[in-house]
């Protein structure tokens, strides 16, 4: 068993899922993190708690609720069916939805911290220079929060790659559609195909280590430059 014989379908599928989910997470998570960093509303703590839920909930809880809610008898499943989209479990789109929910805190929290760390002062200065709100956000807040964006992107991506329980519960293990790397590894272990399992698992380990190493090295460099 060498890398050449290895079926790469789950690898590409996993990368595609992680990339899609990260993109969605950045689009959804940035305004959410911005609001959380700036607001004084009483809703701040409840919303922050909801965002952090996937950190403490077992994936089985999320997977179970998603299976029921997105299913044909669930409220969201009813909605997607009415829109002619069918139901989401067992589809790639369903996995994207699940991954976005599951990885939400890994994107929102670093962004929120970065926005908070930058403080309000640079924005106020920009405002006195008559920069519009959009202008202030894109030319002041976002560049200042660059390390936060880097951390959020990398963690969101890596965490989606490492997702297992939720995908197992709503994926249906379909090769090329929902059989991601973590599920493929589990499958090989169960089938006693330890050769394939080892190759995938070793690749996953190396990938995760490299991603985190690059993240920490880059963040260190950014911090040193800012000092």
């Amino acid at each position: 068993m060498t890398f050449a014989d290895l079926d790469l379908t789950p690898v590409w599928l996993t990368l595609r899922l992680a990339a899609t989910a990260t993109l969605v997470l950045l689009v959804v998570g940035t305004p959410l993190a911005w609001w959380l960093a700036r607001t004084t509303s009483w809703l701040k703590q409840p919303v922050a708690a909801v965002v952090a839920l996937p950190l403490v909930l077992p994936p089985t809880v999320l997977g179970f609720y998603l299976l029921v809610m997105l299913g044909p008898h669930g409220p969201i499943g009813g909605l997607t069916q009415a829109l002619g989209l069918g139901t989401l479990p067992f589809t790639f789109a369903g996995l994207v939805v699940a991954s976005v929910l599951y990885s939400l805190p890994f994107v929102v929290q670093p962004l929120q911290n970065a926005f908070e760390a930058a403080g309000t002062r640079p924005l106020e200065v920009a405002a006195t220079l008559r920069a519009s709100a959009w202008d202030r956000f894109f030319t002041v807040a976002v560049p200042l929060a660059r390390p936060g964006f880097l951390t959020a992107t990398v963690l969101g991506f890596a965490h989606t790659v490492g997702e297992f329980g939720v995908v197992l519960m709503i994926g249906g293990n379909i090769p090329g559609k929902t059989q991601v790397l973590s599920v493929a590894i589990y499958d090989h272990v169960e089938a006693l195909e330890y050769g394939q399992a080892h190759l995938y698992a070793a690749g996953m380990l190396a990938f995760s280590f490299l991603v985190l190493l690059v993240l920490y090295l880059t963040n260190k460099r950014i911090q040193e430059r800012q000092r």
């Binding site: 029921v68 997105l70 067992f90 249906g172 293990n173 499958d187 272990v189 169960e190 089938a191 006693l192």
Partner: protein, 254 residues
């Protein structure tokens, strides 16, 4: 004061020791059990505990996963598999006690839908194929999944239905996919819908000749070799009480 507390300590530890030996004489057996046999095994274990005073600890999972765990030293006395291969393999590898294996149940496969009137008695619903998802257990790891694949192959439908197949990790998850309506229908064990409250929907009990018999074997593991409770439980599986329970869940008996 000191003598009093010393006496107290003595009495307490004596009581503790006594209670411990009490537990030891009652004994405890741990069993790894294939998911499809969850309900009957709970019932059998309860009967066994009532009768013998022994305690039974049950762990459920797919046969493949339990095999891998036992192979890697999981602390079980008995293994009730969903096939006859995993116990045989454990025995030949020295993890099972030689000569302790036997078939405790023969599984029946059903095509089931949570919708009443959806599944007919000839499998025409399979020929029509107007469903989005059909759930089966993973044929590579779950014996009921392998049997489902055999049925579809024998009916000449495997290639056509394949794009609609979603796989449960084990037969319990496959049931969940169908029960939640996410898959319109699927292949599960008859035992899963035989118990009360789950009988709704529609089903087709597959003729036995459509797949190889799903012989479910049990094997005594090395850890249970000298455990009287484990040996008694093994024998109890062949008792009339246990066989009546097994048959009541729709299994065939040898």
């Amino acid at each position: 004061m000191r003598t009093k507390s010393a006496a107290c300590f003595f009495v307490l530890s004596a009581a503790l020791l006594l209670s411990m030996t009490g537990v030891a004489s009652a004994g405890e057996a741990s069993a790894a059990v294939a998911s499809n046999f969850t309900k009957p095994m709970r019932e059998i274990a309860a009967g066994f505990e009532r009768k013998t005073g022994h305690k039974v600890v049950l762990s459920f999972g797919s046969t493949g996963k339990l095999y891998a765990q036992i192979h890697n030293g999981a602390p079980f006395d008995l293994f009730l598999a969903a096939d006859n291969q995993a116990p045989a393999r454990l025995e030949s590898e020295g993890h099972g006690v030689a000569g302790s294996r036997f078939t405790y149940a023969i599984g029946r496969l059903v095509l089931w839908s949570a919708r009443p009137g959806y599944v007919d008695q000839n499998g025409e619903v399979l020929q029509k194929g107007d469903f989005r998802h059909i759930a089966i257990a993973n044929p590579k790891t779950a014996p009921y999944g392998a049997a489902a694949r055999q049925v579809l192959e024998k009916m000449g439908l495997w290639a056509g239905i394949r794009p609609h197949i979603v796989q449960g990790e084990n037969i319990a998850q496959t049931y969940q996919f169908i029960a939640s309506g996410n898959a319109e229908l699927g292949f599960i064990a008859l035992s899963q819908i035989r118990d009360a409250g789950r009988a709704e929907g529609s089903r087709w009990d597959l003729p036995r000749e459509l797949h190889d018999p799903i012989e479910q074997d049990v094997v005594l593991l090395q850890r249970g070799r000298d455990n009287p409770a484990a040996r008694e439980l093994l024998a109890y599986l062949q008792s009339d009480e246990a066989r009546a329970i097994i048959a009541s869940y729709g299994y065939d008996l040898k």
